[in-house]
């Protein structure tokens, strides 16, 4: 008997028990759809985040206090000393080939305008902060070097902060209270959407010097450096190390854009695999469902197996018939699952803020895993069927 016949027999058997076949497939359908959908979400988020980082330019470097080992979960020790604005100035003076050195400090506080108040993240930087932070103004201007030097009480608002605190009016020139101190709004930004540093739209931006004074902080959290030339990034990195080592020893870490990207990709990739793994478990459960129903099917059809053997079916014929039946269930379930997973990802990507990206590897992996589950869980019942003694099988009631 050839494969075509086996497939025909198997499909006919599946069609004879439509409701049961469908219910059995449901496990695989859900498993495959879940794998595709969850991996699509994972991949979508990963794409969006890495896209944002790449959008910042590839010649940015982030210098943070403390030692960080190689990737995620590497050795970490809490920073013993924080950087200061002077460190940033030192780098600007002593390292060649830099476009910008930005000391960054972030903290949260309450912003008040009249009787309205809003919990906001305050980001402090210098006049070159636009390298890291948004720079698309709707109106007004960014703060200037002189204002940084003078620690002026000026603030630029993110779009959400602007809308919430100044609904339906132009905030530029208005006064706002941050951490109990009055500030003048000098500009506000266009909406950016969710970003790496959290919701940048509800942040407010002030000079770092002002921030240190208002919040009584004498350190900064990060120094962001932009190299003039992306090709010279390794050279610049060495120079930075040379400047900072005498002051901090090994207690600082430089992340290049590439490293940050790698780190995040690792993290999000792991997350994606985890999601795929969880979904994969449901696929496995679906496979057990197939085995269960195939075992029932074999004992129900003992007599049929006896008849087939009596008229000349060999072990292989019976084995292949039942394996193909199991694989048929899982493959059909897999195809429906792909359709649902793909459709679901598309709907989610179109109608919710969750980014999704259906990748061919996720689809093919889910499909072949499903088919493999069918083979794996189909072989035992099929083997049982093929080993039946024709005499016993024919007598079976």
């Amino acid at each position: 008997m050839n494969l075509k016949e086996s497939v025909r027999i198997a499909l006919r058997a599946l069609a004879a028990n439509k409701a049961r076949s469908l219910l059995t497939m449901l496990g695989v359908i859900i498993g495959v759809a879940a794998v595709i959908l969850l991996v699509a979400i994972g991949t979508g988020v990963q794409d969006e985040v890495t896209g944002q980082i790449e959008g910042l330019g590839s010649n940015l470097m982030f210098i943070v206090p403390g030692q960080y080992g190689g990737g995620m979960g590497g050795e970490q020790s809490p920073p013993s000393r924080m950087f200061t604005v002077e460190d940033a100035d030192l780098l600007a003076r002593r390292v060649d080939g830099l476009d910008a050195v930005v000391p960054v400090l972030q903290s949260s506080t309450t912003a008040k305008v009249g009787n309205r108040s809003l919990r906001v993240m305050v980001a402090g930087a210098n006049e070159k902060g636009t390298v890291v932070f948004p720079n698309t103004l709707v109106e007004g201007r960014n703060y200037r070097r002189s204002e940084v030097d003078a620690a002026s009480r000026v603030v630029v608002l993110g779009s959400t902060a602007a809308e919430t605190l100044f609904p339906n009016r132009d905030p530029v020139g208005e006064k706002i209270t941050l951490n109990g101190q009055r500030f003048t709004v000098i500009g506000y930004y266009k909406p950016l959407g969710g970003g790496l540093a959290g919701d940048q739209d509800s942040q407010v931006y002030i000079p770092v010097t002002t921030m240190q004074r208002v919040f009584s902080i004498d350190y900064i959290s990060t120094i962001v450096v932009k190299a003039a030339d992306a090709d010279r990034i390794e050279r610049v990195k060495l120079d930075i190390k040379r400047v900072l080592t005498p002051r901090y020893g090994k207690e600082f870490t430089i992340f290049t854009q590439e490293q940050t990207l790698g780190l995040l990709s690792d993290l999000l990739g792991t997350l994606t695999y985890m999601l795929a793994g969880i979904a994969g478990i449901s696929l496995l459960v679906g496979g057990i469902g197939i085995m269960n129903i195939m075992l029932v099917s074999v004992s129900e059809r003992t007599r049929e197996i006896g008849i087939r053997k009596a008229v000349g079916a060999r072990t292989y014929d019976i084995l292949s018939q039942f394996v193909i039946e199991a694989v048929g269930l899982s493959v059909l379930g897999g195809l429906v699952g792909i359709a649902i997973g793909w459709g679901g990802s598309w709907l989610m990507g179109s109608y919710t803020p969750v980014p999704t990206a259906v990748t061919p590897w996720a689809v093919s992996m889910a499909f072949f895993f499903a088919a493999g589950v069918g083979v794996f869980f189909g072989v035992y019942p099929a083997w049982k069927a093929s080993q039946l003694d024709p005499i016993d099988a024919l007598r079976y009631e």
């Binding site: 008997m1 004879a16 008849i307 053997k309 009596a310 008229v311 000349g312 072990t315 014929d317 005499i391």
Partner: protein, 255 residues
């Protein structure tokens, strides 16, 4: 062993001193204790015996569904007593046609598909398969029931489908195990008439039954008791089913 009525007729199947022992719930059962007999080309022979006589075991061995513990089974000149189950399956497919008491058709499957089944395992292609299945069904008078599902057919019709299935591979032996056991008398007579008719056309038929009257449809009756051949008789007054049919009241023809 019977004398040859048509001397040159070739031996199709022969058992040589076969025994069969098996354990049933821990108890050793000796089902056959040295059975030797042969079936010749074109003959119709009955294996008869009460239940427990070993006739079912003998039928399984003759039908290549089982192997003897000792002794030889020779089919078409080949010793098949120690072949593997798969090799036996292939030989069954080629040489044996089964007709069972309980019909044993595939449920929810058309008459034609049921008859095609042995050809599927023989590797015959679709068109040829259909042609031969239709021819076999016409031979048992069911040319107009090709597409009927097995459960839409009467008992007599189902048994005729089973006979067509047994014939379709041009087997060396058609092995009928109590073929009338589950049928009303009229259908039983019809089925026996078909078997006798096929035998008249040259097909070898082995009939397994406990019923003396059914057994006497054959030319020869091999009586089995306690795992041994008790007697071999030539049937002088064969029951001819075709004649019985004519004696039945001429009411509706079942089928």
């Amino acid at each position: 062993m019977s004398e040859d009525r048509d001397a040159p007729r070739r031996v199709v199947l022969e058992t040589r001193d076969i025994t069969k022992r098996y354990r049933l719930e821990g108890i050793e059962v000796e089902a056959l204790r040295g059975v030797s007999f042969s079936v010749r080309q074109g003959e119709m022979v009955s294996i008869m015996g009460p239940s427990g006589s070993g006739k079912s075991t003998l039928m399984h061995i003759v039908g290549l569904l089982d192997r003897p513990t000792t002794g030889e089974v020779v089919l078409e000149g080949q010793d098949v007593s120690s072949l593997s189950p798969n090799a036996l399956a292939t030989l069954r497919n080629k040489h044996i046609g089964f007709v069972f008491q309980s019909f044993n058709l595939l449920p929810r499957t058309s008459a034609q598909a049921n008859v095609e089944l042995p050809l599927v395992y023989a590797g015959v292609s679709g068109a040829e398969r259909a042609r031969r299945a239709v021819a076999a069904l016409e031979r048992v008078g069911l040319g107009n029931r090709l597409g009927h599902m097995s459960n839409q057919l009467s008992g007599g019709q189902q048994q005729r489908v089973a006979i067509a299935r047994a014939l379709v591979n041009d087997p060396s032996i058609v092995l009928a195990d109590e073929p009338t056991g589950n049928l009303d008398s009229r259908s039983g007579i019809e089925v026996m008439a078909i078997l006798q008719d096929l035998n008249a056309q040259g097909i070898t038929v082995v009939l397994v039954t406990h019923d003396e009257r059914v057994a006497r449809h054959a030319e020869r009756v091999v009586k089995i008791l306690d795992g041994r051949i008790q007697s071999v008789e030539i049937v002088n007054d064969r029951v001819l089913a075709a004649q019985e049919m004519r004696m039945l009241p001429a009411e509706e023809v079942a089928g």
